[in-house]
């Protein structure tokens, strides 16, 4: 009898310790790991760019709204860095191709088969609300007019948010259409869609914001206005 009681209580303590450890892992350790991995991805990108392996498309005068078409992105590889001043002045995350679970652990994920950065269509990106560095924790604070700035190493792209955060259900794939339904856009254009989960720790809904391409400039011209302090 004593042995049984002792074993059961020991098992309870073990289960409790396991749960506490798991919570610590999800809340804290995934963030630590993700920060390292994301910094790594950004370093990789910056190294690539400084070596000039990205071919410099000659941006001709007057063509500022239509930069040269980039090469297809390689799956699960970073290709751009995103800055959103509203989420913090130091907030910057790598954008990787694809939205698989493993890819989203390393940064934001670009929906394969949506438009490329700065191209006509809808450049759509998903990111974690919580865990893995909490990239989109403050997603509901985004407002109309906020800047979403991206760079692919040769060009700065400044998008301006037009609508959101808009709450929808996970099956609503029309939010990443070239002309997203419910976005208020009526004509084809160069759009950006960000998606994350809602509620913060849940998966019943998704939060969406939409933006349009406001301006582009070559990196040689320095940071865009939205990123200047």
């Amino acid at each position: 009898m004593r042995v049984v009681v002792r074993t059961v209580s020991e098992l309870c303590i073990t289960a409790g310790a396991l749960i506490v450890l798991f919570v610590a892992y999800v809340l804290f350790w995934t963030g630590v790991k993700a920060d390292t991995v994301m910094d790594d991805q950004i370093d990789q990108l910056q190294q690539q760019w400084s070596q000039g392996s990205v071919r410099q498309p000659k941006v001709t005068a007057g063509a500022s709204a239509s930069p040269a078409r980039p090469a297809p992105y390689r799956s699960e590889k970073p290709f751009a860095i995103m800055y959103i001043p509203r989420l913090g002045f130091t907030w910057n995350k790598p954008v990787l191709e694809g939205t698989q679970v493993g890819t989203l652990k390393k940064g934001l994920g670009h929906y394969a088969n949506t438009a490329q950065l700065g191209q006509p269509g809808n450049f759509s990106v998903a990111g974690h609300r919580r865990t893995y560095g909490d990239p989109f924790k403050d997603f509901p604070r985004l407002r109309r007019g906020d800047a979403v700035v991206l760079t692919d190493g040769t060009t700065w792209f400044t998008y301006r948010i037009d609508k959101g955060p808009y709450k929808t259900v996970p099956s609503d794939i029309e939010v990443i259409d070239p002309v997203p339904r419910k976005s208020g856009y009526t004509r084809p254009g160069r759009y950006l869609t960000l998606t994350t989960c809602d509620p913060e720790w849940g998966h019943s809904h998704r939060l969406i914001v939409w933006a349009h391409l406001d301006s582009t400039q070559p990196v040689e011209d320095g940071k865009p206005v939205a990123l200047r302090r």
Binding site: V26, A126, P170, T196
Partner: protein, 53 residues
């Protein structure tokens, strides 16, 4: 269970304490490195995309 482990560890009380500490560290390492990364995607925090691509 823990008493059984304690009794089966060799050495004096100090050595036993050290060995149990190492066991705990090893278990935590295995959990963080292998078990939790496997278990975490089963929870809903990863669902941030529309249509679950």
């Amino acid at each position: 269970m823990y008493g059984w482990i304690w009794r089966h560890l060799p050495g004096s009380a100090w050595v036993k304490a050290l060995l149990s500490l190492m066991l705990v560290v090893a278990v935590v390492y295995v959990l963080f490195q292998y078990v939790f990364p496997w278990a975490e995607p089963l929870l809903p925090f990863n669902d941030v995309t529309v249509d679950n691509q």
